[in-house]
Symmetry: C2
Subunit: 159 residues, 2 copies
């Protein structure tokens, strides 16, 4: 395995570790637990799960792997704060989507070559990429891993 392949493997492992821990934890929570706030006056578990689903559902687009499956969730879980929209997807729907979204990403990552990760991501112009080649698909993976860990740390407070 060459250097680049080793690096990509390590970063995908770091991502998958966070995904696996979160999946296991979320699946261990009841609907009642997920409907609770992580701390008094803060986001509910269900909102954080939806927020992560919406962000990760957008990842295939940014990585050039296909379109979103839940484009309407951007409004509910990214542009609107928790408790501002009365009707949000049910816990069971979110749990199923969570599994599907992360399975799709795992399959998609497996098909990417190490070199693919170091190309420009899709929400960036060729010109900007030429200026800062560190802003590639690989950097998106690193940032989303931190973002997931950030909210997973909060979800953990539900137990």
């Amino acid at each position: 395995m060459d250097q680049q392949a080793i690096i990509v493997k390590g970063a995908i492992q770091a991502w998958q570790t966070q995904v696996d821990r979160s999946t296991q934890f979320i699946n261990s929570l009841s609907e009642d637990q997920l409907l609770k706030e992580i701390a008094p006056g803060k986001n509910r578990g269900v909102y954080l799960v939806g927020h992560l689903c919406a962000v990760h559902d957008a990842l295939p687009e940014i990585l050039g792997l296909g379109n979103k499956n839940h484009p309407d969730w951007e409004h509910i879980f990214l542009k609107s704060p928790d408790k501002s929209i009365e009707k949000i997807p049910a816990v069971t729907e979110l749990k199923e989507a969570w599994t599907a979204i992360h399975r799709r990403l795992q399959d998609g990552f497996a098909k990417m070559t190490p070199g693919d990760w170091f190309s420009r991501h899709m929400s960036m112009s060729d010109e900007d990429f030429a200026k800062d080649p560190a802003r590639n698909k690989f950097s998106v993976l690193l940032n989303r891993t931190s973002h997931l860990a950030y909210h997973f740390g909060q979800l953990r407070l539900l137990k």
Copy 2:
């Protein structure tokens, strides 16, 4: 800049982003705020700051950059849960240590070559490293970035 240097730059940027956000946030908290629990019955802010200080103070050793400055904090903030030890370092001491620890890491990272990151880390044998070369210093950086983000997400609940 070659591929490897671009990758390392991106990963250090991802780390530093989390460090800078955490630093700014922690410095914005009063002693009273840091002495509060992040959620009822959970860790206090001061414990999480101490925990991150202890973990990051150990990083130079793992990366081959030098010894710990606070070896006694391992017992207080890693091996013991919050509120089990009566006398822990004061908030002001932890804030000062936080700054020093992260400045030291920033200086240390600046002196490492891209290639250094892909060598074995110091808590691993040559033999284990030969089996899994993805477990290098770079993977330590990625994992510590997620770990920091995880607890930063919790600290944010103090406001």
